[in-house]
């Protein structure tokens, strides 16, 4: 698996969340993703970017395009926020420490093919999502 291109987008404001959506959309379209797949990966990115902004107190998204054996899009959201105490609980639908519906993490996981969360309390969180073409 080779990384073909990489791009970093800051996630520090609500406007940045919109930029994340736009860049993920453009890149997914360039990779030849169909409309439904584009919509799924952009929606997942929107949920994860909001998560980084609100719970992680801001961070960044690293977007890699992958090639071999298949084309894919890998999104890594990382922050130096307070971290997630219980990842299993955070992934459960309906669980929220914010004001949302608690669908963000679990919902994003359902919209991609690979999903991984690593987090250390007090140090930050790194969420990796991959959608293959």
């Amino acid at each position: 698996m080779a990384v073909v291109s990489t791009e970093t987008v800051p996630v520090r404001s609500e406007a940045d969340v919109v930029t994340v959506r736009r860049r993920v959309r453009e890149t997914a379209a360039q990779l030849g993703f169909g409309l439904v797949d584009q919509t799924k990966v952009v929606t997942a990115a929107s949920e994860l970017a909001r998560n980084t902004l609100i719970h992680g107190k801001g961070g960044e998204m690293v977007m890699d395009t992958l090639n071999g054996p298949r084309l894919g899009l890998r999104l890594i959201f990382q922050d130096k926020g307070p971290g997630i105490v219980n990842i299993d609980l955070a992934l459960r639908d309906g669980f929220t420490t914010g004001s949302g519906l608690g669908l963000g993490l679990g919902g994003a996981k359902r919209l991609v093919n690979e999903f991984d969360v690593t987090s250390r309390v007090g140090e930050g969180t790194r969420i990796t999502a991959v959608r293959w073409k």
Binding site: V17, R22, V36, T39, T43, S46, D93, L103
Partner: protein, 130 residues
């Protein structure tokens, strides 16, 4: 400040969301619509989302809130024009938009609103034979 325009047509309010909304803009729309319903005594709200390329959990929640708030203020809400890819994604995300009435396009949405309002008048004034 950036705002989404709300048009008044008779006893209905019409909103077309044409921009990629950031979260605060969505909250502003929710507040503005609630205020306009209260000021105008509108009986129906039609929200056209045909230009929206995604509906995530935040926007989904906003649509649900608008529907609930308008109901409490004696108005009906219909969301129209959702793109098929958006509908597929929304359900997979885990949001079924319970409590939000939808129609395929503006025409169907207006008809749904008119029928809902007429039904209510019939019940209120007892003009219907059962």
């Amino acid at each position: 400040m950036e705002k989404i325009p709300i048009l008044r047509m008779g006893e209905f309010l019409l909103v077309t969301i044409q921009v990629d909304m950031h979260d605060r803009l969505a909250m502003t729309l929710q507040d503005d619509l609630t205020n306009r319903i209260s000021e105008t005594g509108a009986k129906g709200v039609l929200i056209d989302i045909s230009s929206l390329e995604i509906v995530d959990s935040f926007i989904g929640r906003m649509l649900g809130n608008i529907a609930s708030m308008s109901r409490v203020l004696d108005a009906h809400t219909v969301v129209v024009g959702m793109q098929p890819a958006v509908a597929i994604t929304l359900v997979e995300l885990g949001m079924s938009l319970d409590g939000v009435r939808t129609a395929l396009n503006v025409d169907a949405g207006m008809e749904l609103l008119r029928n809902s309002v007429d039904d209510e008048k019939d019940v209120r004034y007892g003009s219907r034979f059962y």
